[in-house]
Symmetry: C2
Subunit: 128 residues, 2 copies
DNA sequence: CCCGTACTTGACGTTTACGTTAACGTAAGT
DNA sequence: ACTTACGTTAACGTAAACGTCAAGTACGGG
């Protein structure tokens, strides 16, 4: 099986539910670097994965330049020891950030659960 | 003990690490409604809590008008049955959103963990 | 050859969430 | 009386993340 399949910009946009403009903008920002056939963009599987990562980052509320850094970490060359230590440091930083977010989410979910309880109680009182 | 203590805009800004402008802007947007002593803003405990909720929403990447709606749900009057059903519906919607976010976070954390493993392996190879 | 469809690159418009002066009021300290 | 600290409103500026034209290119079908 060849996984040499490629996609047009419209196919990718359609698949991920974004506009063409969005994808072009991501390329302009260096988040995607599709190949070219003349002037046309050709997206390989790696590009699809990257787009998925970008959108996941967006759902998490990260700004695009942050997302760029994070994705950049994934495909950094092994490089020298200093680089590796720096990268590990960054990883730790991101992890802390994400764990803070998860705490915020859990707190909000718990607030919502409490709110729902009150709602259901009120509803029971009124319709019960 | 009276919990009648109040705060100035500067105290609140300082406590939460935001600027005065930010707080005034939140008021302008209807996210906060502090009392007044003449023209001066007087923040009660409820206002502090609300500011905390706003900032939590921000950390989660919600836009301010979304945050306004969510917070609005907390202090909605019990109201009529239709309102309650609508509110329960909204709660469900927010919950789904937050749970998607948590999945995104977990996926990212797992990516980071894998990346860290590879980093440590490389580091061992180089310094080992 | 013309048409429709898909693609391209500008370039300007828009919204959000504040930052940044500007110009002023008020109350306390010296 | 003067300064300093803290507050006010009004208004313009800005960066991010696209949306929205405008104008042109490339290609297969009829």
């Amino acid at each position: 099986m060849d996984d040499e399949r490629t996609w047009s910009i419209a196919e990718l946009a359609d698949e991920y539910g974004v506009t063409l403009r969005t994808i072009r903008f991501y390329e302009e920002q260096g988040l995607l670097t599709p190949a070219r056939d003349g002037t046309r963009r050709i997206f390989a599987d790696g590009d699809r994965v990257r787009l998925g990562l970008v959108l996941r980052g967006k759902r998490l509320g990260f700004p695009l330049d942050e997302i760029k850094k994070i994705i950049g970490m994934y495909d950094a060359e092994p490089g020298e020891v200093g680089q590796l230590r720096y990268l590990l440091d960054q990883i730790e930083h991101r992890r802390a950030e994400l764990e803070q977010r998860r705490r915020d989410i859990d707190a909000t979910l718990s607030d919502l659960a409490e709110l729902e309880r009150r709602c259901r109680a009120d509803l029971n009182r009124l319709t019960g």
